[in-house]
Amino acid sequence: MAQRGVLMNQPADGILGRVSDLFFRKPGLLLLILLGPPLIWIGVVYVGSLVALLVQSFYSIDEFSGRIVREFTLKTYAELLRPSNLDIVLRTVLMAASVTVVSALIAFPIAYYAARFARGWVKGLFFIAVMLPLWSSYLVRVYAWKLILANEGVLNWTVEKVGLTPLVDALLSMPVIGGPSLSFSYIGTFLVFVYLWLPFMILPIQAALERVPASMLEASGDLGARPGQTFRKVIFPLALPGIVAGSIFTFSLTLGDYIAPQIVGSSRLFIGQAVYMHQGTAGNLPMAAAFSMVPIVVMAIYLWIAKRMGAFNAL
């Protein structure tokens, strides 16, 4: 028994032994010592900062002096509800939604192949191919699209070689999504977002599909389902929790990004850019804080709906 071990080494070990005995007798003390530093760090630095953010959003800025008035007011939130700001919110949420849908469509075949058919080194290769872009080089990956979408860049060069230039021109002349060129339009921003967040969609879908036993799909086929039916009635419902988990990432990341739309996109703002602009050049920290409450609230609603749909039950 463990207790005998403690008894046996009692006299010999000196101070370290006695401390270790103390921890053994009082596991709560050990727990406290283990949890203390990380909780103090996260609790003070991070939760403290979030509280500071909330507090800051109830301050306001003095229009004449440009200084922050540290008194409780709802003025900043009233300003947040201006139509121009609501436009920014709507634009960002629509972008996040379309990025999420298209990411899921592109991610599914990759995840399905990796989960069902890839074996041995191919499987490792798939995993690395998804992990590398997920963990690294965010800026470089945005930059790559600046190269691709430039007027003299590879995409236009390819399009010209294939003879599809009229098609791209037609796309760019469309009212909302168009623009002077691909790298100054919503289409460009959209492509960059899909590219950036795709790995975050692939991994959860793959994880969900790994849990589907192959025999279940065989049973579906044996019972007379065509491949399409098996997909609709068996595979897709079982993959859905993974898709929802992935969509939480793609949605949240799109809501909070301010760099990609600044580098590739039109001059119309997204939420992240508005936050950045208000805290930086405008020096209006309360407005920036109030604006950053929007993604938090949107994500809370999103998570709540996902939970109501039962998406977490299967996770």
């Binding site: 900062s49 953010l53 992990m131 963990w135 949240s252």
Partner: protein, 272 residues
């Protein structure tokens, strides 16, 4: 009747979809490598008119890039160190014991990475403003360490769950005290997971820009240097070469992390 279980291969459509998706993920990065050798200075012309190694030499001579690189390296190392200590402690507490508020603790640790980066950034910025803390090297480290903890934590928790508790009991039964058990039994089991978590935390910190812009003040880390070049391109060829270096410097630790944790367990879960 078929007795042999046949696993029919993937359909052609699926194969094309999967391969096309992976190409979409990786061709743009290959393009970065191509552009590092271009002779064209003023535009992003494709295909490059000619190829040269000149820009690597130019970057080598640039003191501002070395400074930014050094700053990023120091921040990443210190933030990773802090994250390894804090993440391991939290993982040890959560994996081994059940206590009131355990779920809340894991949620709390994941929070900095679950919320959009701009929220983390502006929250830290608000706190520094309210507490009148001037921006410095340490404000950047503070931000980075906060979101790096979760990476180490995820790796350590996964490993601890796979380590059998009877190993620790056996060590105690054989007369080792708690510290000896930690040093000779737990740590060797945990080492590669911590190393992998540390590698990923390093890659994450070295590359971070969204939070950093809010906590850096006048300091220029390598990603901030790149960001300013992306917003207002001044020296495109130099930026291209730096981009290649950033890719290589962040890819190496990730590949090593994969090597340390391959076989069975997922590397650190997902979430950035």
């Amino acid at each position: 009747m078929r007795f042999k279980r046949t696993r029919s291969g993937a359909s052609l459509k699926l194969k094309i979809g999967a391969v096309a998706g992976l190409l979409f993920l990786h061709l743009p990065l290959l393009l970065i490598f191509l552009y590092a050798f271009t002779t064209e200075e003023k535009s992003y012309q494709f295909p490059p008119p000619d190829y040269t190694l000149k820009w690597f030499g130019v970057v080598w001579e640039r003191q501002d890039i070395w400074d930014a690189f050094g700053l990023s390296l120091r921040i990443a190392l210190i933030a990773t160190g802090a994250a390894i200590v804090l993440g391991t402690l939290a993982a040890a507490a959560v994996a081994r014991t059940r206590f009131f508020g355990r779920e809340a603790v894991s949620l709390l640790i994941i929070l900095p990475i679950a919320l959009p980066g701009v929220v983390t950034g502006i929250a830290l910025r608000s706190a520094f403003d309210i507490a009148d803390i001037p921006f410095s090297f340490w404000t950047i480290v503070l931000g980075h360490a906060t979101f790096c903890v979760v990476v180490v934590y995820n790796n350590a928790v996964a490993r601890l769950r796979r380590t059998s508790p009877s190993l620790l009991e056996a060590s105690l039964d054989l007369g080792a005290n708690g510290f000896q058990t930690f040093r000779y039994v737990l740590l060797p089991n945990l080492a590669t997971a911590l190393l992998a978590g540390g590698m990923l935390a390093f890659a994450l910190s070295f590359d971070e820009v969204i939070v950093t812009t809010f906590t850096a003040g006048q300091q220029t880390t390598l990603p901030i240097w790149m960001l300013s070049e992306l917003v207002r391109p001044r020296q495109r060829p130099v930026t291209n070469v730096v981009a290649v270096f950033v890719v290589i410097i962040t890819f190496l630790p990730i590949l090593m992390a994969y090597y340390f944790t391959r076989g069975g367990e997922a590397t650190a879960g997902h979430g950035k």
